[in-house]
């Protein structure tokens, strides 16, 4: 069998390809620089991508004494880390998962012997849904964590990426060429959908919805009128995980985030407090706060019916801490 190829010369097209490549890189690089400057001029800031890699880094780098926030996109939108740290004087790390069911994370923490402090947002139809896509999200996130821990560079490359992303807006995944093109065509400044700031996971991706006025309901799946059968296995798994963490001396605080419209109806009809949240609190002994019943938080706008406006997050967080103080937590020294 004779060699079918021995030299790349066999397949070279004619033309000055060295100059072409250099010129191409220059054109690409200069255009990127111009767009970066343009983006900054219209108000975009450099910020890190809120993805599973960032989640894994945040988890791995967490201070031992930090509070961890766990839940869905709602806690990511509603919980302001700076306000919490300012009011309580304690560090906090945001570990909410957008569009994800956090059971696998909670179980993982328990299996790892976690005995720290958790603030857990419980949206029963996220926690106890039978939608495999939502359940899969946490599994994929944990998979990313394992991959990062196992990799030779041990997350070094992700740390470097985070540094670059925190400096260059063009590296943000939500900087969308289509949006920019539309803004140019309409001769209008693009809507700044700033969801993550700087180099820290502060607000998660869905908060951009909260900044969109008059957002229509995404689909009709909310229009549930019948109560779904309770998934006892998932409920037990959550209970066991919380009990395990608390038995080791850990602290777990539960709360329900504000909601409105159909999502609130679904919550009340299909996942009543008396069957889910209150039972969970009773079985585990973890204090539970339904923020919707609080007049201050209950008055906050919920533009997309599921997430409060990100600009209300400091107020929400301050009030949540006050509500926990009433239960004996975060008391001033």
């Amino acid at each position: 069998m004779p060699p079918s190829l021995t030299s790349p010369n066999n397949r070279l097209p004619t033309g000055p390809w060295a100059r072409t490549a250099v010129l191409g890189i220059l054109i690409g690089g200069l255009t990127l620089a111009a767009v970066e400057l343009g983006l900054r001029r219209v108000g975009y800031e450099a910020s890190v991508n809120d993805d599973a890699q960032l989640w894994a880094l945040e988890y791995r780098d967490r201070p031992d004494d930090a509070w961890l926030t766990l839940g869905s996109s709602r806690i990511a939108c509603a919980f302001d880390l700076d306000t919490f740290e300012e009011v309580t004087g304690e560090p906090v790390v945001q570990l909410g998962i957008s569009s994800g069911q956090p059971i696998a994370i909670l179980t993982y923490l328990n299996e790892q012997g976690f005995d720290g402090k958790l603030i857990v947002e419980v949206s029963p139809y996220v926690w106890f849904t039978d939608n495999p896509l939502i359940a899969q999200q946490a599994v994929l996130t944990l998979q990313t964590l394992h991959d990062q821990e196992r990799a030779l560079l041990g997350g070094l490359e992700r740390r470097a990426t985070r540094v670059l992303q925190s400096q260059l807006r063009i590296l943000h995944s939500e900087t969308d060429l289509f949006d920019l093109a539309k803004a140019v065509v309409k001769r209008a400044r693009p809507v700044i959908r700033q969801s993550v700031r700087g180099d820290r996971q502060r607000y998660c991706w869905p908060s951009r919805y909260a900044l969109m006025p008059d957002m229509p309901m995404p689909d009709e799946s909310w229009a549930v009128t019948e109560r779904a059968p309770k998934d006892e296995a998932s409920f037990d798994e959550v209970t066991v995980a919380i009990q395990g963490i608390m038995a080791r001396g850990g602290t777990v605080l539960l709360f329900a985030a504000p909601e409105a419209g159909d999502p609130r109806d679904v919550h009340l009809l299909s996942y009543p407090e008396s069957v889910y949240a209150e039972v969970l609190a009773e079985r585990t002994g973890a204090p539970y706060v339904n923020t919707m019943t609080d007049p201050t938080i209950g008055a906050l706008a919920v533009p997309d019916y599921s997430h409060i406006d990100a600009s209300d997050a400091p107020l929400f967080t301050e009030r949540l801490v006050e509500l926990y103080r009433e239960k004996g937590y975060f008391l001033p020294d």
Binding site: P3, P8, W17, L23, G24, G28, T31, L153, E157, T161
Partner: protein, 473 residues
């Protein structure tokens, strides 16, 4: 480490710099070998040992095979190589599937058995480098190749980083001669290599990940909720995505290898322009299909033992080809479909091949459309989360189900149809043209602008870029 990452750019620049500075050919080869191990270890360090083991075993066994004059002894050594390589592949890739299948089979007869949790992690690219080392040993056994004296050269052949994890599957007969003499990289080679890498990156990041992947995920992962139209759209999107993703990887691999002075074989040649399935497999994943042809189909007897045996050989080859992609019934069905397509094509060719209309423009267009349609149907099984999901998608399409979930908006639908349509028309029109010929037809000033635009769009592409689909195989 994946090509579409900032880490790879840094890695590439550092290795290129060191490669240019090193004075001797041997030191450059050592650099490439160490870089290749590092490239692989960046994902999971312990699995480098697996590659080293596979390399050492085939290096030693091939030399023993060449030295031995006793046929029985030679065959035994070959069996040893096959057993080790395929054993490792089977353990990592197929044992969970085998246990699960056994569990299901036992459940049918009423025996409840829970298989042990082995927690096996599939080493990236194991199917690729296993086939590569196997081809070397088999070639030596067949007397078509002299065993390599240099372990360094052989190890670099097995691990050369541009193609280590997702091909093209390189034959020893093609690659080892390139290691015998120092590679001289001209500036033109370097420039064309970078241009190819940019084109491949654009295919992967922008067309595959940016435009097609979100639609594929939104439809295939929600197969029970979507409408018939969305099922069709998802299939169009995956047909385009799998091409852009995999051919993108191959193009980057070929381009990066070229910047170091190495030639890798072509892996794709406008596959969606194929007229017939034999033609398709001469254009799609060429390095795998030619490997299966040379080492499996021909070993089974090829077409030398009559029609029935030929068809059985074709089916066996395609079934195993399907299984090579992954341990799942979906891939078995995908392979079986392609086996059946090849059988049907042979039958039709035999019955209608002599008719004049068969070779007219209309006949050729009909052949192209049927090939494309059947290929897309098979892709449904390849991508769906399960065989049940694949049938669900197909039923949705056939019954034009209304759906209960808006998975794709109208602008995205237009983009998918447009990109898919342009891609398949492009493939058909340029099916006999080489990419190099097309590149040199572009006016010189426009080439740099196009490359610059591709690089810019790659950096600005919406959505999250992900690992290449074929990494999982």
């Amino acid at each position: 480490m994946v090509f579409n990452s900032l880490t790879f750019i840094v890695f590439f620049v550092v290795i290129q710099g060191a490669y240019a500075l090193l004075p001797t050919w041997k030191s450059r080869k050592i650099l490439l070998l160490l870089a290749s191990y590092f490239f692989y270890a960046a994902w999971n360090p312990p699995f480098v040992l697996l590659i080293i083991l596979s390399t050492a075993i085939d290096f030693v066994l091939a030399r023993k095979i060449a030295k031995s004059t006793v046929q029985r002894h030679r065959r035994l050594l070959l069996m040893g190589s096959l057993a080790v390589n395929l054993g490792l592949l089977s353990y990592f890739k197929y044992s969970p599937f085998a246990l699960e299948s056994l569990q299901q089979a036992l459940a049918v007869v009423g025996i409840v058995w829970v298989p042990p949790e082995w927690g096996i992690i599939l080493p990236v690219g194991i199917s690729f480098y296993t086939f590569q080392t196997l081809s070397y040993t088999i070639d030596v056994y067949r007397g078509q190749l002299e065993p390599k004296e240099s372990l360094l050269d052989f190890a670099l052949f097995v691990t050369f980083f541009p193609q280590l994890v997702a091909g093209p599957i390189v034959r020893a007969v093609d690659f080892l001669p390139q290691l015998a003499v120092p590679r001289v990289v001209t500036s033109k080679q370097f420039g064309w290599g970078l241009s190819l890498a940019t084109i491949g990156l654009f295919n992967k990041v922008v067309l595959g990940d940016g435009l097609m992947a979100p639609v594929v995920t939104a439809t295939f992962d929600r197969w029970a909720l979507i409408s018939g139209g969305e099922a069709v759209l998802g299939t169009l999107a995956f047909t385009a995505q799998i091409f852009f993703d995999f051919s993108g990887y191959s193009t980057i691999a070929i381009g990066v290898a070229m910047t170091f002075g190495f030639a890798l074989p072509d892996n794709f040649h406008f596959p969606y322009g194929a007229r017939g399935f034999s033609d398709f497999w001469r254009r799609w994943h060429i390095s795998l299909s030619s490997w299966l042809r040379d080492y499996l189909y021909i070993s089974l007897g090829g077409n030398r033992r009559g029609d029935t045996r030929t068809n059985i050989n074709l089916m066996t080859t395609m079934l195993l080809g399907g299984l090579w992609h992954g341990a799942s019934f979906r891939f078995l069905v995908w392979g079986a479909l392609h086996g059946a397509y090849l059988f049907i094509e042979r039958t039709i060719d035999a019955k209608l091949g002599h008719l004049s209309w068969y070779h007219t423009t209309v006949g050729r267009l009909a052949g192209w459309s049927l090939t494309l349609g059947a290929t897309m149907l098979a892709w449904v099984f390849f991508r769906a989360p399960s065989v049940q999901g694949a049938f669900g998608m197909l039923v949705s399409m056939v019954t034009w189900a209304p759906g209960s979930f808006d998975a794709v908006n109208s602008l995205t639908s237009v983009i998918v149809v447009l990109v898919f349509g342009l891609t398949v028309c492009w493939h058909y029109l340029f099916r006999d043209v080489r990419v190099e010929t097309m590149a040199q037809a572009v006016p010189v000033p426009l080439r740099a602008v196009l490359l610059g635009a591709m690089l810019f769009i790659c950096m600005m592409a919406p959505g999250n870029s992900t690992a290449f689909i074929y990494f999982q195989f």
